[in-house]
């Protein structure tokens, strides 16, 4: 085969692969796009047969949603996720730094504890927390959710931040000590600023995990502290099947998630394999 013919074949192959990938991408996207489109349809358009590809978009679902108590749930979601993330960073980042700088004897049990706490089915935590919260009056409170989200957020922070600190050369803080900095200053003035991007990525991952939670919020809240994912599902039960509002609520819940995930997509897998794979 001449080199020209070979190059031609390679180019054709490449174009075929492109076409295939684009078709597959469209297929994967379709279910997701459908929901977003649905959120802009009137109830009549949603039930139209055959379904309308071209329709006059309306914001009535979003308006109706915002007029309902959904906006409080959305606020709950935001407050709870942000608070739990900050708390986890506050507690976890110093620990991660220390862990990266000393060798401890019981490394393996710690690794297993972190991985297993990420792996355990949520119900394993829900039953004890439910009983404890009933007794302490923490059911249906934001504080209750913030605390139970620490079950995954602390492990996430400790594990991810530790690998970020591992990547920071020790000579930097040692140079600072030589210049008279205290141990604490070495951490706050040198190490924290350097690992700023790592902290940001970790914070986003914690936020996503908390924001996406459905199970804990379903069990531990009723109405005061109900989060957005649970509120969306309630449109399925009590007020009949309000598909327009369900679609609009779903779209609102996933919007921050999509934006943030694309920002941290490099770290998605390390976040999901916390405890086992190096970040």
């Amino acid at each position: 085969m001449s080199s020209k013919a070979f190059a031609y074949r390679r180019a054709t192959e490449r174009r075929l692969i492109y076409a295939l990938v684009i078709v597959l991408a469209a297929m994967i996207m379709l279910p997701f796009v459908w929901l977003v489109l649905m959120s802009f349809k009137t109830n009549d358009d949603i039930f139209a047969f055959p379904p309308k590809l071209f329709f006059t978009p309306t914001l009535q679902n979003y308006a109706g949603l915002w007029a309902s108590s959904f906006r409080y749930s959305f606020l709950n979601s935001a407050v709870v996720s942000v608070s739990s993330t900050l708390l986890a960073l506050l507690v976890g980042v110093p620990g991660a730094y220390a862990l990266s700088r000393i060798s401890i004897r019981h490394e393996k049990p710690l690794s297993l504890l972190i991985l297993a706490s990420r792996m355990a089915p949520p119900i394993a935590f829900t039953i004890p927390y439910f009983l404890a919260y009933r007794w302490m009056g923490l059911l249906d409170t934001r504080l209750g959710l913030i605390l139970i989200y620490l079950t995954f957020n602390i492990s996430l922070v400790v594990w991810l931040m530790r690998s970020f600190f591992d990547a920071c050369p020790r000579s930097l803080e040692e140079a600072a000590w030589v210049d008279g900095a205290t141990l604490w200053q070495g951490f706050t003035r040198i190490m924290l600023p350097i690992s700023g991007p790592g902290v940001a990525a970790t914070a986003i991952l914690c936020f996503l995990y908390s924001w996406n939670d459905f199970f804990f919020a379903l069990i531990l809240t009723r109405n005061q502290a109900m989060t957005a994912p649970v509120a969306v599902v309630n449109f399925m039960n009590y007020e009949g099947w309000e598909w327009g509002k369900i679609a609009a609520g779903g779209t609102m819940v996933m919007l921050p998630v999509l934006i943030f995930s694309i920002l941290v997509r490099k770290f998605l897998i390390s976040g999901m394999t916390t405890g086992a794979v190096k970040g």
Binding site: A25, P31, P121, I123, I148, T151, D166, W177
Partner: protein, 309 residues
Amino acid sequence: MPTIGLPAGRVAPVTKPGPQRHRFYWHMLIPSLAVLIAVTLAPTVFLLATSLTPLDLTRPATIGDFTHPARNYWLLLEDRRFLNSLWVQARLSFWTVGLQLLIGFGFALLLNMRSSLLQALRTVFLIPMVLPPIVVAIIWKVIYTPDISPLHWAIQSLGWRMPALITDANWALTAIIIADTWEWFPFTMLMILAALQMMPEEQIDAARVDGASAWQLTWYVTLPYLKGVLLVAGLFRLVDSIKAFPLIYILTDGGPGSLTEVTNYYAFIQAFNFSFLGYSSAITVVLVGFTVILSWLILRLVGWGRDVE
């Protein structure tokens, strides 16, 4: 300044005495460890304790009743619904993990080219995995609800008939498997893609020079190279498949009958529909046992998270 002029690689004499530093690090570490243990390990011990009692919220006297500690576990052995849930779980896990590995591998091979178009499309393939699980469940509820489903409309306009999958006894589990596969194939795809990009090019080139076809290359060179990552990705998905909840809650509610009731879901029903928290704890302890064993296996495989220095 004393550090200037030292050859690179030679660390400056550390001015902070060792014990002082050591103490400082422990002061930083202990709060994290304490909180981690308080929020994860302590509840697990508590769970173990409640699993030994007949705790039922409607009967306050059952709290802390340890007279027949193993009773829940004996009951489990004879509970047909529990045994059925294990079988449903096994089938769900088998099919979702298998399909996700297969599809993830296929997509990773397709996307593993240097091309800005494919680079951009990679982000598109991520979407199902990063969506909130509850939104994924809603998306598939729409697709499986005949009145409003584009899928049902497409099938119908081709002149075929399709039952409502999630209420049909023969199809309900398959419907969940399809939705779960859609949601999680990006995970296996990403892990495989990352491994593919680290694959030494010499291996491929050598095989090419020897005249290997694309299929032979995949089967004899790529696949053996990916064995480890396939195993780890599969194990991660296996553990996660035990946690399947939102899809089942929204799509089938465990039904029809208990055909899609996985063990996790059965534990949820026992605890929060029937309020048998003690019995549910026992079911959950079994699940936690599985996850700890699988986690340990993963750590054995990947070498406990990081290389021992």
